[in-house]
Subunit: 410 residues, 2 copies
């Protein structure tokens, strides 16, 4: 069997940008290494979920690993929890959280509590980290900056509760509501509401927040929950593709999705999921993990962050930077390796939001047939030999080239 | 209604071959007749099962006839049995068999008993051709050379039993095991084990084998079973496409799949499924059967055999030969005919094994729209007007051009 690497540049897909003379960031970057791989390999475009449907990074990564998100996805929470190093039992409900700021009328003032530091948020988290509400254990684990994860453990719970985070300021924060008529959803909404009310009471008078108010900073006085879900019961990556694998990523979400699929999580110093992430360290981790395993998923977040921040020119520079680092990485990779490069969704960098346009894909390696496309971007790849495929098809195509798949029939 | 012919070149899809200066066998062959059909018609690439998934000839032909193998396939055995002319009842379990050679320690020495002749194998088969084990009738039918089919007829049987054929020599042959926890699977494994043990006892002392041992030839002293299955309950080809049809093929498997779909089987002298098959005779049979029916599937095995034997240059010659014979055939075909040419899977001829790469497809005839592709190969067809489709879509497309399909809705 040959080895394979799937490289996901988050939010890679884009649209024509006025600031780039009507080119997409990929077209403007014209990244020499990716263009070379496209010329030597095979290209196509990918509807990560299905044509036109905008998807998140969670559903996007599920699909790229070959798991139909319509079948397996319940919410982002469990992936965040797994990625944050929490153990999840089958019945646990997990939620993604932000520390936010509300005023005395419960109107949301800041979704990130003034982008509070990890240090301050960590202290606040301790004060609300473990409670028991109506027999349910509620655990809050802080991750980075304003972010955290909430875990509900007990009987009679459901993930079918609404988001508290309204995703925009100026509206009154609404406590969780049941999303179906079940007794479990009602009970879970009740438990959550009681926890969030009690947490608010504690946070309002916490010394860290009193000091922040004194300093004119928004206090982190509310836990905004979203993405309630239970751990999806995924058939293992190894059972699907006959390869053991690892993930190299900064963000908890990506680690969490891959962990749910049974991949090992690489520990990389300085892999932060930000623009200043340790790209060289991540490339080194890919090489290291390929010694042990047949497959590595390498995730790079910065392309998406710059798209959300509406910085197409900076996205161009980041794409070039990634292309250069991966060029060096390829020189160290074992012979016979197959690579795929793609995105998990399109984030047009003049809109700053996810959209459902397909993302470009290239597959490269000694067994790849090749096509007539010589550059790697949204437009050129639409004429590639791979055609227009779905996200769930990417891994089977890569695993086939690696010779890892079993015959169906004889 | 117009008539239609589906031409399947087994294992047609391939990859770049070093021995062909980096071309695929189809590219190197540049078969003038197929290239002409591609230029006048429409092309595409086909994921016979789904992207990346390597498939066998059995699942491949089911898919090309429009039957989802995930829904209908149970094993290769029943198709081999039908193709060998056996009648199958609904509850019968059928298995594909080889005469093989094991040593006194039951280690497999030769999977084909020294490619024993049909004559000798036929005599041996008679001695183990019919037994009754625990109320189950066990019938062994010899087909050609070392090959045969085993049929179990009785109550309480299941096809969920493991293969005896280990597909490689040097390992101890393991008797069939149940593949699920059912009483039927356990019972079937037991019946099979008793039959195979008794058959071995008879074969060891059979005069044919005693003579072979004397001559230093491997005795055919063991029946290697695989591909246990029950007859799939297929909706008839005629009910799906409004056309009656025939199959022209050498190998039993292909005849069997088509028979299960309700196609007539043409009898062609010298259609052996080998490199020296009677291609002209098969072309004549297509013409003959098109007088009676609206559809013929023409199967040619040699392209796959040469791929498994890792002979890309010979595959090139065979593709040219088929192209030339079919050119002559077309001159005799009735006006208004529609043709499709494709493969049932990819067998890279430098690997010698099936892979999951898509296969090229061309569709030709007076009603076909056309596209901008002028040659018939894996790379050119990826830019064709048919795009990237699934195996189950091929027949509906062909039947549509033939005007055979009923309106869905009004």
């Amino acid at each position: 069997m040959m080895k394979a690497v799937l490289i996901v540049l988050d939010g890679l897909g884009d649209r024509r940008c006025r600031a780039l003379n009507g080119l997409t960031p990929l077209q403007a970057a014209s990244p020499s290494f990716f263009d070379r791989l496209a010329a030597e390999g095979e290209t196509g475009i990918v509807d990560v979920v299905s044509p036109g449907v905008p998807n998140g990074s969670d559903t996007g990564h599920l699909a790229l690993l070959g798991y139909d998100p319509h079948k397996y996805y319940t919410g982002r929470g469990p992936f965040e929890a797994l990625g944050a190093g929490l153990h999840l039992d089958k019945k646990d409900v997990a939620l993604r959280c932000n520390f936010g700021t509300v005023d005395s009328g419960s109107v949301l003032v800041d979704r990130r509590a003034g982008r509070i530091s990890s240090e301050e948020a960590g202290k606040l988290a301790e004060s609300v980290g473990a409670m028991e509400v109506e027999g349910v254990k509620v655990l809050f684990k802080h991750t980075v900056e304003h972010r955290g994860v909430l875990l509900l453990r007990g009987d009679g719970l459901s993930h079918r509760v609404s988001n508290v985070d309204p995703h925009s300021t100026g509206t009154v924060v609404a406590m969780p509501k049941p999303l179906d008529g079940s007794r479990e959803a009602r009970f879970t909404a009740e438990v959550l509401t009681r926890y969030l009310t009690e947490a608010r009471r504690i946070l309002e008078t916490h010394p860290v927040n009193l000091r922040r108010v004194e300093q004119g900073l928004p206090p982190a006085n509310f836990i905004l929950t979203r993405g309630a879900g239970v751990k999806p019961d995924l058939p293992s990556f190894e059972s699907k593709y006959g390869m053991r694998g690892s993930v190299v990523a900064g963000g908890a979400l990506y680690k969490g999705v891959c962990k749910a699929a049974g991949l090992d999580v690489a520990l990389v110093e300085g892999a932060t999921g930000t623009v200043n992430t340790n790209l060289d360290g991540k490339a080194a981790a890919v090489l290291e993990h390929l010694k042990r395993h047949d497959f590595v998923l390498l995730h790079i977040k910065a392309t998406d962050t710059l798209s959300h921040d509406k910085k197409p020119a900076e996205k161009v520079m980041m794409i070039k930077k990634v292309s250069d680092v991966l060029k060096k990485m390829l020189e160290e990779l074992p012979d016979g390796i197959h690579l795929a490069v793609t995105g998990d969704h399109t984030t047009p960098s003049e809109l700053g939001e996810h959209r459902g346009d397909p993302v470009p894909l290239l597959v490269w390696g000694p067994q790849v047939r090749g096509d007539m496309v010589n550059s790697f971007n949204e437009v050129s790849c639409s004429r590639g030999g791979l055609g227009r495929i779905r996200g769930v098809d990417v891994m089977p195509i890569l695993a086939n080239y690696a010779g890892a798949l079993e015959l169906f029939g004889e």
